[in-house]
Amino acid sequence: MTPLLELENLEVVYHHVATAIQGVSLRVSPGSIVALLGTNGAGKTTTLRAISGFLGADDAQIVGGRVMFEGVAVTGRPPHDLARRGLVLVPERDKVFETLTVQENLRALVPGRAGRDGARPPVTLEQVFHYFPVLAGRSRQLAGYLSGGERQMLALATALLCRPRVLLVDELSFGLAPLVVETLMTLVGRLRDELGLAVLLVEQNAGAALAVADSGYVMEHGRVVFDGTVERLLAHEDVREFYLGVGQRAGRKRYTEVKQYQRRRRWF
């Protein structure tokens, strides 16, 4: 199956000086959820911003590699253009318009004119409310009064109305209670199953992400160090130990007790 979204050896440099990611390659197939895991500072969010075109605001730039979307190179295209093509980002923070009501939030996006997104089936408000019934009940409230979980739902819903082919989700579990995370992950799974969406899920919470994902990549220090199907990831001792906290090795339970080089050598 040809991948919907493909990164080839992407390199990103901040402030013309500091390399953040180097040689990151990954693929997202149609109708699949791909988890992108890694600790803080591994380059997950940078990767996501590079895909969605949001690097400029942070004074970063892509200096190597390319981003292919539906077989077209879209490296360095502006975010609004990517969103219209169907590559839609759900950002980590500041994702809802707080002084607009929920309904206004959902209607804020510019309706796509016939053209690039004409071929994709439209998403109606009814559909959105079907997936997010909570929002239907709160449609006249200001988005600033929503709870964290409801904001995340609103952000997903807004993204959904952009008729995405690939949803890029940054830290769905950011600051949310475990039960809420579970609900949201299930929702993302339903979006894949029922609407055929592909999702790139950037997550710290590996357990929650791998519960719905089809495959995953593990990043460390700006590189992809391990990848494969969920089964392969779950079977890997280091992933189990460092990201799921269920390691089997006696005598070292904590991340910090491991000498870095041991871990790195095994992954390379």
Partner: protein, 355 residues
Amino acid sequence: MAFGGGYFKTTYAADLALVDTRLRRVTLGLLILALLGLPRFASSFVLDLVTQTALAAVGALALNLLTGLAGQISLGHAGFIAAGAFTTAILVENRVPSPLVALPAAALVGAALGVIVGIPALRLKGLYLALGTLALHHVVLYACGEFQNHWGANTGVSIPPPRLGPWVLKGTVAWYYTLTAIAALVLILCVNLQRSRAGRAWMAIRDREIAAESVGIDVARYKVLAFVWSSALTSVAGALFAYERAFVSVEAFGFFLAIEYIAMVIIGGLGSALGAVLGAAFVTLLPYGIDAGVASLRVPGGAEYYLFPLKFGAFGLLMAAFLVFEPQGLVGIWRRVRNWVALWPLRYRPLRSAS
């Protein structure tokens, strides 16, 4: 910028030193020698340009404290300069022409104005603050205009050259040395302010006010303090301006002056003392540069009349272009050069390795 090695400081004295490496010491020494020896080689026109730059640098450094470090935009800078200049003028009118009185008095007036503006400014942010400080500018200029109309001659007040005992400060060279030395002192003061508790508090407030408050920084106090430092220094710059021009008139302190100072700190690079000095030099010298450019075009007689408005256009255009293509300011260029040298032969700093 060094990574993986370099200079390590082993004593507190070394950590506090402003100029810490031999290369820097040598560079600074050469710069001082060059500035000291300049009157021997340069024409008085060049000296005058450096003097003006030094004077502008004092104001720009002061504004940089407020806008660059504390993150509070101020369109009232020309008002503070006018306050300093007119303090001097009022003292001169009352037969107290000594700079030993006028400069501290200007600083006090500036500091008082800083408190007056700073306290209401605590409640203002962004565009509202800009408008509030703009209002201050108009109030100060109105008061100065009233003074000028009632006590001074209608066109302005002449200021005698400053006199310290038997010595009279007169002539291009004397002014050059005086103002360059004062600018150097203010530069050291500003760099040290930036390295001190107050400077760190200002930068914290600029970056994230709530986080600053949560680590125990009294935001209100430090904001007012930023206004006080900035306006006091600016007023001193205004007093120096009055002495150097030997004439004070309200017309010199229009809104354009405030914009020029804002342009200096932005073009130089916000939050950097070096940037403020570079920006002051850039904005001061740019009109002369454009003049020289126009003169070298050698257009026939009448056309120069039309080139005159073009100069203002070119000034604005150059500034806009600068902001678009070099948002980090002149200091950004300097940093890039420094990084390039430090990283050569690499182009980018490599990925952090897990050593």
